[in-house]
Amino acid sequence: MRTRALSTPLSAEDAAGLRAGDVLYLTGTLYTAREEAHQRLLDDLDAGLPEPFPLEGAVIYYVGPSPMTQHRPIGAAGPSSASRMDPYAPRLHQLGVRASIGKGRRLPLMRAALMEHGGVYLGATGGAGALLSLCIRQVRLAAYPELGPEAVYALDVAEFPLVVLQDCHGADMHVAPNLEAALSG
């Protein structure tokens, strides 16, 4: 288990140095986005509008936080299932996005996209919304306020704990289920 610490934006060199299974503490800015924000972003770029936030080296966090409380900038903020964003993610990597944060396995097309564009897929602990929330120091609206809770927010994070689930060299950290062992005996 190697441990790494990096800051955003992530460079191509940063991504190339990461291997599936590395533990990564990330500091800097994450941009939140789920399906609606992805659709809107790609529609706007197709229409020739400028980038709503710098895409080069950006890290996208798939998250739908719970409402913020009085003393915190954000509520619980654990990862959403990443495969829901697979129809959009390869194009974002083509446009400069370097990493996404979510949970669970992705469609096979993501392996090729990450290898082609030098991207990584990072996993945060599914269901650890309170713990992850504590690493988020500040929250700013970045784009699409009309999407309400699904708008894009910039999260300033400090030492956000992650595992590299897929690297840009084709490796995937998920362990294949051993059906034979499970069904024997």
Partner: protein
């Protein structure tokens, strides 16, 4: 006839919604500690984060998970008790809406087609049972989308044996182990009718993880099935390890002689539930 003021139900239900979302059930906490001791380094780190998450959630008043779920209620209403002031269904719904609002819990219910959020997490999903006695027992569970999405109902061939039940459940977990928040708890509804099996799969999980089934055959099935799922080796978060499943709970019911319904509920690690008796 014993009377319970509806206001008491509203307040209790509101408090239950907040508590379920902020407090890891004690049996789940014990199961985390037991499992952590026999994990790989990556697995131990996952359990450390989950235990820290539970402590922080209770301390800071943040939900354990941002997906605060659909609010599902199992109600056992004594025949000799009545709720005074408004209908019991209305009281539970009012309490749930109040709890989700005041507890800063995420509201997730929406129209199934337009997907427009209803804004208050309503309606609660409520299952009523009429039982003897003069008490009102309410169990609330918060069911996140990942758990509901991963779960399955099947109609097995009528003469299938327990190995067939085990095979189906293991294959279900193998299929979804990289999408759910493992380590999971499994609830099995065996027998009954198509819809009763699904309900029983959820109800089975109301038993604490370390509660052993009173029927030795069912206790045996629970144990062997848990061991089988753990031999999948996918572990916490699907990244490898010894604990894919924390425990299996079975609820069996008589069924039609020409059918064998089987439902497998795949509950995420936090297994949020809380109970009150009024």
């Amino acid at each position: 006839m014993r009377k319970i003021p509806a206001r008491a139900v509203v307040d209790q239900v509101a408090a239950m919604c907040v508590a379920a979302n902020r407090r890891l059930p004690p049996d789940v906490h014990r199961a985390f500690l037991r499992a952590q001791a026999q994990e790989t380094p990556m697995g131990r780190e996952a359990f450390r984060q989950l235990l820290d998450n539970a402590a922080l959630s209770a301390e800071l008043g943040l939900p354990l998970c941002q997906d605060c779920g659909m609010a599902v209620f199992f109600v056992e209403m004594g025949e000799d008790v009545r709720v005074d002031g408004m209908g019991l269904r209305q009281a539970i719904n009012e309490g749930m809406v109040k709890g989700y609002r005041e507890g800063f819990l995420r509201k997730s219910t929406c129209d199934p087609f337009t997907r427009i959020n209803r804004g208050d997490n309503s309606p609660a999903v409520i299952h009523f049972d009429i039982v003897p006695g003069d008490t009102l027992r309410i169990v609330m569970t918060a069911e996140g989308a990942s758990a509901d999405n991963a779960s399955r109902v099947a109609m097995l061939a009528p003469h299938s044996d327990l190995d067939a039940v085990r095979d189906f459940a293991v294959r279900c977990v193998a299929e979804v182990c990289h999408g759910v928040c493992a380590p999971v708890s499994l609830g099995l509804g065996i027998g009954g009718s198509f819809e009763l099996a699904a309900l029983n799969a959820k109800k089975a999980l109301l038993r604490p993880i370390d509660n052993i089934h009173p029927d030795p055959a069912m206790a045996q099935l629970e144990e062997t099935l848990c061991e089988a799922v753990n031999r999948l080796g996918t572990g916490p978060l699907g990244l490898g390890g010894n604990t894919t499943c924390l425990g299996v709970k079975v609820l069996a019911a008589p069924c039609h002689r020409d059918a064998l319904p089987l439902a497998v509920y795949i509950q995420c690690h936090c297994a949020r539930r809380v109970e009150v008796v009024l």
